[in-house]
């Protein structure tokens, strides 16, 4: 087992890079996955509102109270730049100014009063939050004005408007939905989503340099002139690669279990684990294939970053596939990362699909492994023939 031992001797020198990636990865994952409970009841989105009341009347304060029932209100004074920053960073979803003369104009249905704007909204960009608030405020003001026109005094009208109609909202589950599993939540699925990049980075950064070292001209010549059979050499290298990849994969899966809060439960979680194993095998196979070209360590590192970041961005590793453009998704189908992420998304119900679709995703990834295995064999045998002719 000389080659096998040599394999892990080189692996030890690359350990630090694996540790560095792993620590950073878990440091990022922890806050993202920490609160991974599944909401089973409907929860209205509570917005963060900035409200400046320039009117300071009973009616304006009633509006602020009505808003505060459902949303978080910030009344701390902010200049326009600070407000812009807060809205740009989505710390504030909607900013409202209750203008001077609000109560006076709200309490009158004369044509002049109806022309006066009562509120001012500092607008940064179109959003569902802004649309939602505009609908609410428009309805609030119109209802109040109608009530005033019907003879109510202002505060009675305001009170009536604040009593909003509430409709029933049900979260429904399809009884035929065989994939639904409350144990594998979209929030926890982020762990497996990000795993795509980290597995490419770690496996290629560790396995790649080891294979390059073993295939180095002088090293290779020494092995070739030794009594070691080529088949034994290949077997030991494959065994070493398999064990190394299995250890890396196992570390991430166990780390994931720690984030999950214990051993994975439910079919979907285990299917996601299986999905990650298949993808890890693909990355290993791809690394073996690339190493047959004997690139420099810089080029290998560049390929690792390009493949990892490329697949993470194009296939839905950093943003869910549903947020990617149609064109990007079509192009990404030629990458195994797309099928890895699609399987994850189906399992956490971020995308619609059946268990059959998940198995198709596994099969496509398996196809990629087979493809690179064949390419590696072709490449190695071609290389060997050229060498023997020389």
């Amino acid at each position: 087992m000389q080659v096998f031992k040599l394999f892990f001797k080189v692996a030890r020198s690359k350990l630090w890079i694996g540790i560095l990636y792993t620590v950073i990865f878990f440091a990022i994952c922890f806050p993202m996955v920490n609160a991974s409970e599944q909401k089973v009841n409907f929860e209205d989105t509570s917005l963060s509102l900035y409200v400046r009341d320039d009117d300071q009347t009973e009616a304006s304060r009633a509006l602020v109270s009505a808003l505060a029932e459902k949303h978080r209100i910030t009344e701390e004074p902010m200049d326009q730049q600070k407000l812009m920053d807060a809205m740009y960073y989505s710390m504030i979803d909607y900013s409202l100014v209750i203008k001077k003369g609000y109560a006076e104009n709200l309490g009158s249905v004369g044509s002049e009063a109806l022309k006066q704007d009562l509120l001012e909204e500092f607008h940064l960009r179109d959003s569902y939050a802004a649309a939602m608030m505009n609908v609410y405020l428009n309805e609030y003001i119109r209802n109040t004005r109608v009530a005033v026109a019907m003879g109510d005094d202002l505060m009675t009208a305001v009170r009536k408007s604040a009593e909003r109609a509430v409709i029933d909202v049900e979260i429904v589950q399809d009884p035929k939905d065989e994939v639904y599993d409350k144990n594998f939540t979209p929030k926890f699925a982020w762990f497996f989503r990000l795993l795509l990049y980290i597995m490419v980075a770690v496996i290629m950064s560790m396995l790649g340099p080891i294979l390059l070292s073993l295939n180095r001209e002088d090293q290779r010549k020494r092995i070739e002139c030794s009594p070691l059979k080529p088949s034994t050499y290949v077997t030991q290298v494959f065994l070493g690669s398999a064990i190394l990849v299995a250890i890396i994969w196992l570390i991430f899966v166990l780390g994931g279990a720690a984030l999950y809060g214990g051993m994975y439960t439910g079919t979907n979680s285990w299917m996601a684990v299986l999905n990650s194993l298949i993808f890890a095998l693909f990355v290993a196979m791809f690394t073996i294939f690339v190493s047959t070209f004997q690139p420099s360590s810089t080029v290998m590192s560049m390929i690792a970053q390009a493949l990892g970041l490329g697949m993470a961005f194009l296939c839905g590793g950093f943003v869910p596939q549903t947020m990617l453009g149609e064109g990007v998704r079509t192009v990404a189908k030629v990458l195994p990362g797309f099928w890895y992420e699609r399987a994850n998304d189906i399992l956490c119900r971020d995308q619609m699909g059946t268990m059959g679709d998940v198995w198709i995703c596994f099969a496509v990834q398996g196809g990629f492994i087979l493809l690179f295995l064949i390419l590696t064999i072709i490449r190695s045998s071609g290389h060997a023939k050229v060498k023997s002719r020389k």
Binding site: W16, D117, L124, A165, I167, V172, T298, R349
Partner: protein, 437 residues
């Protein structure tokens, strides 16, 4: 000699493959990936797709829907379909929710007689009308034949604004679903208002409201004041971070300057320490040459992002280039400073610097943009002390602010950082004595 050394430094840098890969190709590649992945962020909101199942007819709902659709420019994309089809659409993710309209127990429902009655008063297309003032005008002139006024009004009320129960069915929580709920609550609220109005008009109390209904419905309520004229796309923040990352990668390009001038760290350092050339004649040209090549790399990245990927950096592009150059100089000075600390080898220092750079980039929001936002709001000092965040802030202020006040402060910060790093670097490399080499 000074200028010749600068020229040699530039040649040395441009012939280093790693520099070209990490300073030029890598940012371009990352920019392309960003564009693909985040290009859809900040684009116009799509209409919320929703299925409507009418188990009982609700004319007011249709009317309100058309009204809101007209006023919001199509915020909802409703499709009327049977219940089973609606559930299939929901399960396939084609709609965000299902609106189910059911009859209320005990409530009178419209009959064919009522329909004929309504057509007689409001015309054949009475159920397609969305104009409240038009309806109220017609209502004023109603003189129903063969029936008394009160029962005619009741009949009209039940036909137009008959009571129904509306339920929203969804599969998951989210802002689309909340917005949808808000719209439906608004419909229900408006319907309640219409019923109250109808009832009061029959007693004469609401005549004032009826007369003003059109003005009330179209009356001014909210004025929208834009906060900036700059590019408000949140995706641009990733591009600022990318430029900041390239700038700070100057650390990797500059570390060799101090290492190559220290006899205990490199063979070149030994030769230089023995030579009669003053250190300033070696270090300063090295710094200037590296600043020039690295600034060139940053300018290539900015040009690629602006003109190939079409990223909008606002209307002050020359200042964006200036910021890139200042960032590059700051990165180089940081690299020079780190290179002069301690006795670690260049490889170890590169590893440490890479980890430090990526951590600074992470804190600045290169991977997750909200990280910098959290610091900006909770602990702004972190962003003031993080060189990567300083570059990002400068680019952000340049795009968003009407004046250059905040931008100039950030530029000044970069200048101070640069000065401090260079002074510290020089202090650590000068007047070194070695017992043996």
């Amino acid at each position: 000699m000074f200028f010749r050394n600068i020229l040699y430094e530039i040649r040395l840098n441009t012939r280093t493959k790693e520099v070209l890969i990490w300073m030029v190709l890598f940012p371009i590649l990352l920019g392309v990936f960003y564009k693909f992945a985040f290009g859809n962020l900040g684009k116009e909101m799509n209409a919320i797709p929703v299925a409507v199942v009418e188990n009982t007819e609700d004319r007011m709902f249709r009317m309100m829907y058309r009204k809101v659709d007209e006023s919001t420019g199509g915020m909802l994309d409703a499709v009327y379909c049977p219940e089973e089809e609606a559930y299939e659409k929901l399960n396939r993710g084609e709609v965000a929710g299902i609106i189910v309209i059911d009859s209320v127990d005990g409530a009178a429902s419209a009959t064919s007689d009522d329909t004929a009655f309504m057509a007689e008063i409001f015309g054949a297309d009475w159920d397609k009308r969305t104009d409240f003032s038009e309806i109220s005008e017609m209502l004023k002139g109603v003189s129903p034949s063969g029936t008394d006024w009160s029962s005619a009004m009741d009949k009209m009320k039940e036909t137009y604004v008959g009571e129904t129960k509306i339920t929203l069915k969804i599969r998951k929580n989210g802002s689309e679903q909340s917005t949808l709920k808000n719209y439906i609550e608004s419909f229900v609220g408006m319907k309640k208002m219409a019923r109250d109005l109808w009832e009061s008009s029959s007693t004469g109390e609401g005549n004032n409201a009826i007369e003003n209904i059109d003005q009330i419905m179209s009356g001014a309520t909210i004025t929208s004041v834009p906060l900036t004229k700059g590019n408000r796309d949140p995706f641009t923040m990733y591009m600022y971070n990318l430029i900041a990352m390239v700038s700070i990668f100057g650390t990797l390009a500059a570390m060799h300057i101090s290492i190559n001038s220290q006899a205990n760290l490199s063979a070149i350092g030994m030769r230089r320490s023995c030579a009669g050339t003053p250190k300033s004649m070696v270090i300063l040209p090295g710094l200037i040459g590296t600043c020039i090549t690295h600034s060139g790399c940053v300018l290539i990245s900015i040009t690629f992002l602006r003109f190939i990927l079409g990223v909008d950096f606002g209307d002050k592009l020359p200042l964006v280039y200036l910021t890139g150059i200042c960032g590059a100089v700051m990165g180089v000075s940081l690299g020079f400073f780190v290179g002069s600390i301690g006795r670690l080898s260049e490889g170890a220092k590169t590893g440490i610097m890479m980890a430090v750079n990526m951590s600074l980039c992470f804190l600045s929001g290169l991977m997750i943009d909200s990280v910098r936002a959290i610091f900006a709001m909770k602990m702004p000092i972190i962003n003031h002390l993080n060189p990567v965040a300083v570059i990002c802030d400068a680019l952000y202020y340049l795009n968003m602010d009407a004046d250059l006040h905040r931008y100039l402060w950030k530029l000044l910060s970069m200048g101070i950082f640069t000065l401090v790093f260079i002074v510290l670097g020089i202090l650590m490399t000068r007047r070194q004595k070695y017992a043996s080499l």
